[in-house]
């Protein structure tokens, strides 16, 4: 294990799975395949197995299902001048349209990207990863998939921002007669959708991405030093 970043992806690499061992994904310790829990950190050990993708699909379905009411029900309701100057209940999409009418295109774009584009892109990305996981791939494809996975994993929690915005606005804008904002039921289902999607991404095992790489040549059990094992 030396700083061999320049050797990325060159040549086949011996994985714990191919060697009949199990790597702990929490602390990295390697154990014989029979071992159930890692003796160092106590993490449950599991081989990279396509059957584990069922968890991914299950959480993903839950995420997609809860995303539907998040778009149908109002995210928050606004009352100005005790309803005289209009009280409105806005779903996510209506909120964006409203912002465009007010001329604040930049915020409209941010909200649209954060609460519509990103969640849908996450659903698509996770489904794609789960479909191609474990299938044969070249090293470049595997790198792309890992990158997609890392982006999904990173961006997942940031969708929660919408829920926080609704909470802050409803707590803050309580000006009695002048204006008040109340959260709508969509806030809950949006929060659930984000949480389920995060769980889905977390239950995806990135080691599956690399399982389908062609096993061309002599397996290389060496660390950092090897460059081409052909």
């Amino acid at each position: 294990m030396s700083g061999a970043s320049d050797l990325r992806g060159s040549g086949p690499v011996l994985t714990a799975h191919r060697a009949g061992l199990l790597g702990c994904h929490s602390c990295g310790r390697v154990w014989p395949a029979e071992q159930k829990t890692c003796a160092r950190c106590g993490e449950h050990l599991s081989p990279p197995d396509r059957r584990k993708l069922q968890y991914v699909w299950a959480w993903l379905c839950a995420g997609i299902i809860t995303y539907i009411p998040a778009n149908i029900f109002p995210m928050m309701s606004t009352q100005t001048f005790a309803g005289l100057q209009g009280s409105s209940e806005a779903t996510i999409l209506e909120g964006v349209v409203e912002l465009i009418h007010h001329g604040s295109y930049d915020i409209a774009a941010v909200v649209f990207v954060a609460s519509i584009i990103v969640p849908i892109a996450k659903f698509v990305a996770i489904s794609w990863l789960a479909l191609v996981a474990g299938k044969p791939a070249t090293a470049e494809q595997a790198h792309t998939r890992l990158k997609v996975y890392e982006v999904v994993e990173f961006i997942g929690r940031w969708s929660m921002i919408d829920v926080f915005v609704v909470a802050i606005l409803s707590a803050l804008v309580q000006l009695g007669f002048v204006a008040s904002i109340h959260p709508g039921p969509a806030a809950v289902s949006f929060a659930l959708s984000v949480a389920f999607t995060m769980l889905s991404a977390q239950s995806f095992d990135p080691r599956l991405i690399w399982r389908g790489l062609p096993l061309r040549s002599r397996e290389n059990k060496n660390d950092g030093q090897e460059s081409q094992a052909e």
């Binding site: 970043s5 990325r8 992806g9 106590g42 007669f177 690399w210």
Partner: protein, 231 residues
């Protein structure tokens, strides 16, 4: 006890597997400042920094103190046409305290206050004995593992960005006054970022077993030269 550089392909002794792609590497103790990356996918496996434990402890304390301030000081205040309203962090969570939104109160409180505090606490529990050179606490490994598992669910920094988005939305409606709790939260982002920079899981795992606590009998001992200072 294992000697550095020796490994056994049947039991996995002396090897580590990349958590992302499962590639096997021979375990080696790095000196501070070195970075080990996976040969295949480039994931950082270890990057020890010198004095990291003391820094992490200090940062965990800082984040606890800041969180205390963030919880009890006023958070935001707005006013328009003589009507005013102030809210604290609890006020923000309690905004959901109606009808079916109720569970969200708890979820929001846990994500923005509970988990950051819990993670700081777990980190202190793990690291304080190690920094003092004493054996690690009995449940240090479990505590550290849980702390790392909870990382994605601790959303204080996302909350801060959410606050700024909300402020932009409110700006046209009323004048906003930012309270000390808001600034405490902003400071918290930087504390978390710094803490992340010093965090090297591999080093902490090594330190837990080197400290002489309960181990799995696989801790590395340096092979040829006897006593060198460990980072």
């Amino acid at each position: 006890m294992d000697h550095e550089g020796t490994y056994d392909l049947r039991t996995g002794r002396g090897l580590i597997a990349c958590p992302r792609c499962d590639a096997l590497h021979v375990e080696k103790e790095l000196t501070a400042g070195e970075t080990a990356r996976c040969v295949r996918c480039g994931t950082v496996l270890a990057n020890p920094r010198s004095g990291a434990f003391v820094q992490l402890i200090a940062l965990a304390f800082t984040s606890m103190v800041l969180m205390l301030g963030a919880v009890f000081f006023p958070f935001l205040e707005i006013s328009r046409m003589g009507f005013g309203n102030a809210t604290s962090l609890f006020g923000v969570a309690l905004a959901f305290a109606e009808g079916i939104l109720l569970p969200l109160v708890l979820a929001v409180l846990i994500m923005i206050v509970g988990l950051p505090v819990l993670r700081s606490f777990l980190l202190l529990y793990t690291l304080v004995p190690l920094a003092q050179g004493r054996p690690a606490h009995r449940h240090a490994a479990t505590a550290f593992r849980i702390s790392e598992h909870l990382r994605p669910w601790s959303m204080a920094e996302i909350f801060v960005i959410g606050t700024s988005v909300a402020l932009v939305k409110v700006a046209g409606l009323a004048s906003v006054h930012l309270g000390p709790a808001f600034w405490a939260f902003c400071a918290l982002i930087f504390v978390n970022l710094a803490s992340r920079g010093f965090m090297c899981q591999a080093t902490i795992w090594d330190a837990i077993e080197d400290s002489g606590g309960k181990t799995d009998g696989r801790e590395l001992v340096e092979a040829p030269k006897p006593e060198t200072v460990r980072s």
